[in-house]
C-alpha cells in the first residue's frame, strides 16, 4: 500500500507568479479576505522570498499554513486555511 495522503479540498486558487513583495502578500491577503472561515487557498508563486514571508505573515494574521512545497525549479505552492476573519 502506498502513502495515504489526506485530500485537502481547495476552495480558491491564485497565481501570483511574476509578483514580488509586498504585492505577493497583498494579493494573497485579499484572496483570503474574500473567503469564508474554514476554506483553503492555493497560492502559486515564483518569488522565493515570498515562499518564506507569506507563510510567516499569514500565521501572524491568524491563518493556518497547511503546506509550503517547491514544485519545480522556479515555483512554489502554498496552502492557507482561513481560520480568522
Amino acid at each position: 500500500m502506498g502513502d495515504v495522503k489526506p485530500d485537502i479540498k481547495i476552495d480558491k486558487k491564485i497565481n501570483i507568479k511574476g509578483l514580488v513583495c509586498p504585492y505577493t502578500f497583498v494579493k494573497a491577503k485579499l484572496a483570503v479576505e474574500d473567503m469564508e472561515v474554514g476554506e483553503t487557498l492555493e497560492i502559486l508563486l515564483d518569488y522565493e522570498e515570498a515562499s518564506r514571508s507569506i507563510p510567516k505573515s499569514m500565521e501572524d494574521h491568524g491563518q493556518k499554513v497547511l503546506k509550503v512545497e517547491k514544485i519545480n525549479d522556479t515555483d512554489w505552492i502554498i496552502l492557507i486555511k482561513k481560520e480568522k476573519e
Binding site: P22, Y23, F25, V26, K27, K29, L30, E33, S57, D60, H61, G62
Partner: protein
C-alpha cells in the same frame, strides 16, 4: 468594488496591516471627512487623509494664501500666493491622490451654514484658529451626532481630542464657556512653531482613520496635550459632564448661537 492595480500598489502598506486589510482600505475610500480650515492644521490633516485615500474631503476656508502662512501651511506654496486656500488645497490633495475628491467651500463657517455643510460627512475635523469657530463646530457636531476630531496649537504646544457625541465628552464638558476675547493670545500674537502643526495634524488624521477603521481606542473622554519643548505627551481625563449645556441630560443650548458676537476675529 475591486482595487485597480494602481490602488493595490498605492495602498499596499495599508492593506498588509492586519487592522486595515482590503476591507479597511475600502472603508477609507468610501469615507467622507469634512475639515474646518485649510491652514496650519487643515493642511497636514488633509494631506495625510488624501494620501490614505479618503474618498471625499470637504474643506471650508475663506482666506487667500499669504507669505506668513507658508512657515507651516504645507499644502500651499510660494507660487500660489494670493490663491484661495481651498483651491490650493484641492490642487495639492488631488494631485497627491487622484482617488480623492476635494470639495472646497469659500465661506466663513457660521451658525447658518454649518449644518448643511457637514450633514453629508461621516467625520468632522476642526483645524480652526479661534474660539467662536471651535465652539460652533462642537455644538453643531453634538447636535448632529457627528464624530469630531478637534485640534489646537499655540507656541510650542498642541492639543487633540476626539468627541463622539452620545458616547463621550464634548468640548463644552471640558471648557463650558469660551474664554473672554483677548484673554488667550492667537497665533498671530503669540507665534507658533510651524512643525508642531504637523505633529498635531498627523495625530488628528490618525484619529480619523482609526474611527473609520473602527480600530484602537479613540481619544474619547481624553485631552492629549503635546509639549514640544519638553517632548511630553500628557493625557488628561475629561469626564462627560452630565450637566453640560450642550451634550448633558438637559441641554440649555439647543440652537446654534451667534458665536462671534462681541468676539474679536483673530
Amino acid at each position: 468594488m475591486e482595487f485597480t492595480e494602481d490602488q493595490l500598489q498605492r495602498y499596499s502598506r495599508h492593506i498588509i496591516l492586519p487592522e486595515v486589510g482590503g476591507k479597511g482600505q475600502k472603508k477609507i475610500l468610501n469615507a467622507k471627512v469634512f475639515i474646518v480650515g485649510a491652514g496650519g492644521l487643515g493642511c497636514p490633516v488633509g494631506y495625510y487623509l488624501a494620501a490614505a485615500g479618503i474618498g471625499t474631503i470637504g474643506i471650508i476656508d475663506n482666506d487667500t494664501i499669504e507669505l506668513s502662512n507658508l512657515q507651516r501651511q504645507i499644502a500651499h506654496n510660494t507660487e500660489r500666493l494670493g490663491m484661495l486656500k481651498i483651491e490650493s488645497a484641492k490642487k495639492t490633495f488631488e494631485s497627491l491622490n487622484p482617488d480623492v475628491k476635494v470639495i472646497g467651500t469659500k465661506e466663513r463657517i457660521s451658525k447658518d451654514n454649518i449644518k448643511d455643510l457637514i450633514k453629508d460627512y461621516d467625520i468632522v475635523v476642526d483645524g480652526s484658529d479661534n474660539f467662536p469657530t471651535r465652539y460652533l463646530v462642537n455644538d453643531a457636531c453634538v447636535m448632529m451626532k457627528k464624530p469630531l476630531v478637534s485640534g489646537a496649537i499655540l507656541k510650542f504646544e498642541g492639543q487633540v481630542t476626539t468627541i463622539l457625541p452620545g458616547e463621550g465628552h464634548c468640548y463644552r464638558c471640558l471648557f463650558e464657556e469660551m474664554p473672554p476675547a483677548g484673554l488667550v493670545p492667537s497665533c498671530q500674537e503669540a507665534g507658533v512653531l510651524g512643525a508642531i502643526t504637523g505633529v498635531v495634524g498627523a495625530l488628528q488624521a490618525t484619529e480619523v482613520l482609526k474611527l473609520i477603521l473602527g480600530k484602537g481606542e479613540p481619544l474619547k473622554n481624553t485631552l492629549l496635550i503635546y509639549d514640544a519643548l519638553r517632548v511630553n505627551f500628557r493625557r488628561v481625563k475629561v469626564p462627560k459632564n452630565p450637566d453640560c449645556p450642550v451634550c448633558g441630560a438637559h441641554p440649555t443650548i439647543t440652537e446654534l448661537q451667534d458665536y462671534d458676537a462681541g468676539y474679536c476675529r483673530i
